[in-house]
Amino acid sequence: MKMYLPPPGAKPTRRGVLKKGLLGGALLALGGGAFLFTRKSVEVDLPADGLLVLTPREFAIVSALAWRLVPKRDGFPSVDAVQVARGCDRILTMVDATAVDETKQLLLLLENALPNFLLGGRLSTFTKLSTDAQDAVLREWQTSRITLRRTGYTALRGLVMAAYFASDTTWPAIGYPGPLPGIHDPNAPVWKGGGAERPVGNGTFREELLAPPPAAVDGGTP
């Protein structure tokens, strides 16, 4: 039997219990509002090569979020040009299933009209809000007194920024020249042993050239 923890003898900290309670509670309270949640999301064009992790609805939420986190700006490629929402979908193929689940919950929490109504007085899903109202929602998450919202903001912001700045098309806008050319060797030898001679390089070393080590001090034996 697998032991999921805390293990026997470990006392859960009061803080841990509180946090768990708060998190669970917040998700229930904010994520479970079925009525307002049934309100429609905006529909957006899906990537030509399809989605691997996100649903079309989740994809639309990421798209809207990306447009607000990286709005149009001279010199910078647009989030659509970089395919940020598709990039987020692809990043999620490589992460733990539990992280995918939490990201999806967060996206739906952001979209959900109920918390937007309760905490911001807006009776609409995130994707259907005006851009000003969307910015206000994100500002509420960023500066919220509820840790879960700040955590959620940090997570979603990080995902979008990673997908955006992963593209080298963003480099000219920030003046980043990129790696120096002529350094990386895509044909460098890959040594796996098995009797093959190890190529001489910066990592190889002739141990006999080492100065004789000083006498080791015995650390004792178990």
């Binding site: 805390p6 470990a10 193929t93 700045f165 460098a188 796996k192 990592g203 004792g220």
Partner: protein, 516 residues
């Protein structure tokens, strides 16, 4: 013994069972040195590494490729509430493949404290010195010359000089370094003397068999003996199990997965030490400050870490100390680490070439009230665990102090703007505004906290009721299981940890060999 081999996951199409003297789990700073010394003793050694075998052929100095291949959870590892971001390596070579080459011996005061408080009477400066001397020769460890430090380090150097603070040049493990600046993304010219290009191939030449893309999932044990290590072969891209299994039947097992994955493996194996496994994890919590300069800093170029200061390492009784260094600044990580609204971050990124970033690395685990981090298994998680960290009042006091000191250093070095990494950033345009940080919230998920150093979780100690492994790193209660990595450290160090782990591993290999 004939030459060994590196077997990558894509070569494994059917289940494999191998017998050997020692199975080493993890190929980072602890596992690599242990394995090399054991094969030198003539032992047959099999190493399992969950990360892939990525070499300079792939090290193209771009972030997406590096984070995908070389970091735990694509660089997204964090505490459950994201209050603490955990940058940790995951490939052949472990953290040494992506670290920034800073090499320090373990401070005397830390070894003395381990002896006094934890009964670690096996390790001392005298015991470790011959190992450090050997390691430093093998890895070409030398101070980085002042004339070669980059502008980002120059800011720290100049600021420290202006304020009259203690400063020093970092010793780096590099050979023929081209001063490129991409240590964190895998060195494209093998100049970094990581385990990937030095100790591991040395060990393979002497007989080590290394399976990459193999995640050790459980140790089979009964009575006082580990019988087998069961591992999943992982897909090279998705990092999900392919269904192929590797089983190793060793006489002795060495767990070297680092301070998060080693405890997780023990917990999956129901080796819990009454709950102590995964507790008292230390992270050297890092606070960062960004500064904009009139001139170009180009913090993406040049040896990333070459200057340090231990000026605030000991702040007196009851206070948490810290040390100062700088990180490399590359676009993707900078944009993620930078806080604030999206448009605000984009605005900041237009100053990219002019940005300096400074780090204050806090020495946790020394104050009596600290309990540190806790690692627990997560239901449904495969490589992602539940991680929490208890920040104390002493943490927040030190964080505020270090942020103010970093801002002063940045202004002393000529910064025209300094910005904190609060979710709602504090922006200052002169040293007179540093006190604005007194009003800023220092609390979880209000200000960015990160870690690049993971320690503890399987702490060593004499008393089996307060520790996980004994002072020889043998698991209390089992006869043939050792833990050799940063997880055994009873406290954090106050210096970058790689050489401490190298030294302990090379020392431990001596008596681990005798246990076979």
């Amino acid at each position: 013994m004939s030459q060994g081999r590196i077997v990558t996951g894509d070569e494994l199409k059917a289940d494999v069972t191998v017998e050997c003297d020692v199975c080493v789990i993890g190929s980072g700073s602890g596992g690599a040195w242990t394995a090399l010394e054991l094969v030198k003793q003539g032992k047959s050694v099999v190493m399992l590494e969950e990360g892939g075998y990525h070499t300079r052929r792939e090290f193209d100095m771009t972030e997406p490729r590096a984070f995908q291949n070389l970091y735990q959870e694509l660089g997204n590892r964090a505490t459950d509430d994201l209050a603490l971001t955990i940058l940790q390596g995951r490939s052949v070579g472990g953290g040494t493949t992506v670290n920034w080459c800073s090499t320090f011996r373990t401070p005397d005061r830390i070894l003395a404290l381990w002896k006094e408080r934890h009964g670690v009477d096996t390790l001392s400066t005298a015991v470790l010195t011959p190992h450090w001397e050997h390691i430093e020769q093998r890895l070409h460890v030398a101070p980085w010359p002042l004339e070669l430090i980059n502008e980002n380090n120059r800011v720290l150097w100049d600021g420290l000089g202006k304020l009259g603070y203690e400063r020093g040049l970092i010793r780096r493990n590099v050979n023929n370094c081209l001063n490129l600046g991409y240590c964190g993304l895998g060195c494209p010219v093998d100049a970094k003397q990581s385990m990937l290009v030095t100790v591991l191939p040395d060990a393979v030449e002497k007989g080590l068999t290394l399976y990459s893309d193999c995640s050790a999932r459980v140790l089979d044990w009964d009575g006082r003996t580990v019988r087998a290590v069961r591992a999943d072969v992982l897909d090279g891209v998705t990092r999900k199990p392919t269904g192929v299994k590797v089983t190793v039947k060793p006489k002795v097992t060495v767990v070297s997965g680092g301070a998060i994955n080693s405890p997780a493996l023990l917990m999956r194996s129901e080796l819990l030490s009454e709950g102590r496994v995964g507790q008292r994890t230390w992270f050297h919590p890092v606070l960062l400050m960004m500064a904009e300069f009139e001139h170009e800093v180009n913090a993406f170029r040049g040896a990333p870490q070459s200057v340090y200061s231990h000026h605030f390492i000991d702040r007196g009784p009851g206070k948490m100390g810290y040390f100062l260094e700088v990180p490399p600044v590359q676009p993707m990580l900078a944009s993620i680490v930078a806080t604030g609204s999206g448009p605000d971050t984009i605005e900041l990124m237009t100053k990219f070439k002019h940005l300096n970033v400074m780090l204050a690395i806090h020495v946790d685990g020394l104050l009596p009230e600290e309990t540190g981090g806790t690692v627990r298994l997560r239901s449904g998680g495969y490589s992602r665990h539940s991680i929490t960290y208890d920040f104390t009042d002493a943490h927040w006091e030190a964080f505020r102090h270090s942020c103010k000191e970093m801002a002063k250093l940045q202004f002393a070095a000529g910064a025209k703007m300094v910005r904190s990494l609060h979710l709602d950033p504090v922006t200052m345009t002169s040293v007179g505004e540093v006190d604005k940080l007194d009003a800023a919230p220092f609390a979880p998920v209000q200000v960015k906290v990160a870690t690049a150093h993971q320690m503890g979780g399987c702490r060593m100690g004499k008393d089996p009721s307060t520790s996980v492994v004994d002072p020889h790193l043998k698991y209390h209660g089992l006869d043939n299981l050792f833990v050799v990595d940063g997880s055994v450290l009873p406290t954090s160090l106050g210096v970058n940890p790689q050489e401490t782990i190298f030294g302990i591993a090379r020392w431990a290999a001596g008596h681990i060999g005798q246990a076979v």
